[in-house]
């Protein structure tokens, strides 16, 4: 029991925090605990969850990808151009997803083969991709798509929006992928000890490229959802989205140094961030504060993660 509590301490803490926040918000606003508001929260967090799950894999592999938001923007813009060019929706969406996979894979290739620090590299890539989005759109949004495409953003099966179902499906698939399949095991080892992976005869480069390709695919899926939902592809879409994703992943208990991951933790962290955002909106707090809170929570999560690493190092000595 003690071991179990120790292992899942961060997730238990998050769950408790979420319950407390929910109780406080229920007391403050009678609207909070209504089905309509819960549905709003789920719809608002769905695409953030997809990106955060993708980011969980990347952070578990020992790096971060700061270009995820820019991939969202470029995939959205290119898909929009394809749709305006008369390309059928399934082909345009497939093209967008493939572009996301390719951009992610390029990030992975660059990180693995150039040896440049991932932080600088993905920051530079982010600037370049955002620049391309601005250049091809002239800085203006591309709007008005057919109903078939918009359905992908706002369509529902019963009471549940497609994006919520997509996020739930991606989360469910990611659990066996991370913890019960070779691929996930090697991604974790990439973060745990890359040298051990190489000395075991495993091609580390392949796993570096594919884990970034997965994040690229997740970013492209986010692009489909937000472009369809807003009926507009904006060159500035996805701005700071990677910060939200990293915050959720680290808050959820995935080690910032890699090697350890928690999908359940990421889900809980995305939900708690969504609930806080929703609560602040209900209490008419400015969105500027929401940004501040996200940054603050990231700082606190990183500090907790660092303290854990420090304790382990002391134990190993």
């Amino acid at each position: 029991m003690k071991k179990w509590l120790g292992k899942y301490s961060q997730q238990i803490f998050l769950f408790t925090a979420m319950v407390i926040v929910c109780i406080l918000l229920t007391i403050r606003s009678e609207y909070f605990l209504t089905w309509k508001n819960i549905r709003n929260i789920l719809e608002a967090v769905s695409y953030r969850l997809i990106l955060a799950i993708g980011m969980t894999f990347v952070i578990a592999s020992g790096v971060m990808d700061l270009s995820a938001g820019a991939i969202v923007s470029l995939c959205g813009v290119t898909m929009a151009l394809a749709l305006h060019g008369g390309i059928p929706v399934p082909i345009a969406v497939a093209f967008g997803i493939l572009l996301g996979i390719a951009l992610g894979a390029v990030n992975g290739l660059l990180i693995h083969y150039t040896g440049i620090n991932f932080f600088i590299l993905t920051l530079a890539v982010s600037g370049m991709l955002r620049g391309i989005s601005l250049m091809i759109t002239d800085g203006k949004p591309i709007t008005k798509f057919g109903q078939n495409f918009i359905y992908l953003g706002i369509g529902r099966i019963g009471e549940i929006q497609l994006s919520v179902l997509a996020a739930a499906l991606f989360t469910l698939i990611s659990i066996p992928l991370m913890f019960h399949m070779k691929w996930g095991g090697y991604v974790l080892s990439l973060g745990g000890n890359r040298e051990a992976l190489i000395k075991s005869g495993i091609r580390a480069g392949f796993y570096r490229v594919t884990v970034h390709a997965l994040l690229g695919a997740a970013a492209a899926a986010v692009a489909v959802i937000i472009t369809a939902r807003l009926n507009s592809a904006e060159p500035n879409a996805g701005m700071n989205m990677e910060l939200d994703a990293i915050t959720a992943v680290v808050m959820g208990g995935t080690s910032i140094k890699g090697g350890k991951a928690s999908i359940a933790g990421t889900v809980m962290a995305v939900l708690i961030l969504g609930v806080i955002r929703n609560g602040l909106t209900l209490m008419s707090v400015s969105s500027d504060y929401q940004q501040w809170i996200t940054g603050f929570l990231l700082l606190v999560s990183v500090l907790i993660s660092e303290i854990k690493v420090y304790k382990l190092k002391a134990l190993m000595k």
Binding site: K182, L188, S189, N193, G259
Partner: protein
């Protein structure tokens, strides 16, 4: 034990390796025989670890030939080396500290169920059996390796090598973090492997351990082959003298420059 007419299982001929301006190996020659423990001794920075990393495919040599069981290679990949039966315990142990015992023992050779899913239960069971058969005591095999002691980690790395099988075992400072009891157990294991006809290459700074277990000693110094002889023809004092003399020669060369 081999005679000099016996063919070596592993042979390195005129192998060279430089890292930028640093020449780690210069014209290195080395042989190891089946059913023998060959110890590689030399001072820090003499090129011992580079030599074994070339043999395991972690590093590509700049020149020279590597012969394994009569096959010639100019360089090896890790996979090729494993295919030829080479298994290593590295000085850094090459363990994934975030994984548990089973995760490390089966890294790269996982047991699967339904074709795609990892069989965690079977891997844990086999890990328990393996550790028990090797008399390795790890109270909780489900805890991550980072929470284990240095000796337990070394024992785990050795268990992984034994599980991997192969017939050429390389051990780089395998017992440096172990207590006397654990070291004795590992030495016994080496003798058992030797009896089975396996080739063992041992790197150790502990000259008494080297004399205790090895059949042949290869001395290297400053990236060069110095001498190779049967252990029974030497003594720790003689070997120590040889290493110190080489060290002094090098200092004289540096002074002359």
């Amino acid at each position: 034990m081999s005679t000099d007419t016996q063919k070596p299982i592993v042979e390195m001929r005129h192998v060279k390796k430089a890292f930028g301006y640093v020449r780690a190996l210069e014209d290195m020659n080395f042989s190891a025989y089946a059913g023998e423990v060959t110890a590689i001794v030399g001072d820090n920075g003499s090129g011992k670890s580079t030599l074994i990393k070339i043999l395991t495919g972690c590093i590509k040599p700049d020149a020279g030939e590597i012969w394994i069981k009569g096959k010639c290679f100019f360089s090896l990949t890790v996979k090729q080396s494993m295919k030829e039966g080479v298994t290593a315990v590295y000085q850094d142990l090459a363990l994934d500290n975030c994984k548990d015992c089973a995760g490390n023992i089966f890294l790269g050779r996982e047991l699967m169920k339904y074709g795609i899913l990892l069989d965690h239960v079977q891997m844990r069971r086999k890990t328990e059996e393996l550790l028990r058969s090797l008399h390795i005591s790890i109270p909780d095999i489900t805890q991550p390796v980072e929470k284990m002691s240095g000796g337990q980690r070394q024992a785990l790395a050795i268990a992984r090598a034994v599980y991997a099988g192969g017939d050429i075992f390389i051990f780089d400072e395998p017992t440096s973090a172990m207590g006397m009891k654990e070291t004795a157990r590992i030495m016994k294991l080496f003798m058992e492997l030797k009896k089975e006809g396996k080739t063992i290459i041992l790197i150790s700074h502990n000259l008494f351990q080297v004399f205790d277990i090895s059949d042949r000693i290869c001395v290297i110094h400053n990236g060069r082959f110095v001498d190779s002889f049967l252990t029974k023809d030497s003594s720790p004092q003689k070997l120590h003298k040889l290493i110190v003399e080489k060290e002094e020669e090098l200092s004289d060369e540096k002074m002359a420059w």
